[in-house]
Amino acid sequence: MSTGTQHGESSLLIQLQHGLRREQIKRALHDIRAGWDRRELWMTLGLQDVRQRYRRSKLGPFWITLSMAIMVLALGLLYGQIFGQDLHDYMPFLAVGFVIWHLIASLVNDGCQSFILAEGMIRQLNAPLSIYVYRVLWSTLIAFAHNIWVFFMVALWFGVDLNWNLLWVPVALLVLLLNGFWIALFLGVLSARFRDVPLIVGSMVQVLFFITPVIWKPEMLPGRALWLHLNPFYHLVEIMRAPLLGQAPALANWLPVIAITIVGWSLALFFYSAYRWRIAYWV
């Protein structure tokens, strides 16, 4: 082995040029398709990730449901008091918002770790790299399937009007996962190279939780509608929250979400084409 030195910037640029050839883009797309074909593998791995966290505990994965219920109850009583809200109205709003936020935050945070945590496998297994992204999505979805019951319990208790708008929920969930995919792909690659990214993202997600109307309602902030609409997370939360609370989907939320999905996917695909082949070297 001989060693040499070379400037970091220039090597990243060389890699970019190498990665942006037509065949690399084709390979990246193939990688995502082939990853889907290996779903038996990543579904098993994703389930295992969830189980691993709660292994040998009495309640098992139902701790997910329980801790969410405790959180919603505590926050609901506290902020209901602080904001002087009617609990009949506020509790379901908070429950659904918190559950959706948990889904989005996990997609973003765990997405950063998608390749880093799979280090050992990436270097030994010749599977498409996208399986590690699917795996994160799947384990997040499993956790969500446990959490959503907290909302339904609250909804039944306070008699929320669950109506035909619920049919929009699966569509919204699919769109959220679609966005989760590009986020995990993009942040996963970035985090594999720069290990500060997951930490930066983690603290940003925390701040976003307070900026995004999850514990507070948009109506509580009159006259600042512009800031609200500039926050992409508001729209992502709202497309799912509205139908669960029995409201019709709003175009004002769906249009930005569709735009985010298209722009995000193009960005992530561009990035993944360029740097996918370097991931095995980085982890």
Binding site: S2, T3, G8, Q48, M121, F194, V197, A280, Y281, W282
Partner: protein, 252 residues
């Protein structure tokens, strides 16, 4: 019909120290650009040239040994053949299903039962679940683990885990098999049985690339070998001659 063709393949690794990996240092570095030129050496990323201009061509029935001391590039070459590393330059053409068997226990989960691990390991090898189920009895029987297969494998001894991993890993026959340092398999009593199975298994594979330090293993299995040093092929030819060169190189 399996084949492998490498043309002028080179692989280099960036070696990131803790400081170059952090985004903060990258940002500070670019913001303060020219000022710290004097310190430029420490700002550079060292690059390890792991493979240089490798040419390999293999066809059905070939058994290739990789010889060389630690760090000569054997494992890197195996990873390129397995499609794990894409080379910086050169062409790689591999036809046929490839299974890299670097760690036969890869993916096994300590908390899952023996049966669950058979499925898990099978999924890692690229088998569909249905097919693994169909082979389950045969694999279970071969391991001789009996009722233990219903227990989490963390209760197993190292040898028992090895048996399980070995049994599953040798149950699917790929076109191309990449092996690093041979395949181990538990205690002496099991060894004969394992050897038989391994022989039957390796006979069916059309191309094998084996990296090893064991001269016996290389002689038995591989007709030709590559002797590698510093990421280059220094000799290619019959295994016996390659081993002789290797010994001469090390001054024996």
């Amino acid at each position: 019909m399996a084949s492998i063709k490498l043309e002028n393949v080179s692989v280099s690794f960036p070696v990131y120290s803790a400081s170059t990996r952090s985004l903060k240092n990258r940002l500070i570095q670019s913001a303060t650009g020219g000022q710290i030129r004097a310190d430029a050496i420490s700002q550079r990323i060292s690059v390890v040239q792991a493979l240089q201009d490798i040419n390999v061509s293999l066809e059905d029935g070939d058994r290739l040994g990789l010889i060389g001391h630690n760090g000569a590039g054997k494992t890197t070459l195996l990873r390129v053949l397995g499609g794990i590393y894409e080379p910086n330059s050169g062409r790689v053409e591999v036809q046929g299903t490839t299974v890299p068997l670097f760690d036969i226990a890869l993916g096994m989960n300590q908390e899952s039962t023996g049966y669950e691990n058979i499925i898990l390991r099978g999924l890692f090898l690229g088998l569909p679940r249905k097919k693994i189920r169909a082979m389950m009895d045969e694999i279970a029987e071969f391991t001789e683990l009996g009722d233990f297969l219903n227990l989490p494998i963390r209760t197993y001894s190292a040898g028992m885990q090895m048996r399980l991993a070995f049994a599953v890993s040798t149950s699917v026959v790929p076109d191309i098999l990449l092996i690093d340092e041979g395949i181990g398999a538990g205690d002496a009593a099991f060894l004969n049985k394992a050897r038989e199975r391994l022989e039957r298994f390796t006979e069916q594979v059309s191309i094998i690339v084996l990296s090893s330090h064991s001269e016996d293993l290389l002689r038995n299995m591989c007709s030709k070998s590559l002797l590698m040093e510093h990421g280059r092929v220094v000799f290619a030819g019959p295994t016996d001659e390659a081993l002789e060169h290797y010994r001469a190189m090390r001054g024996w």
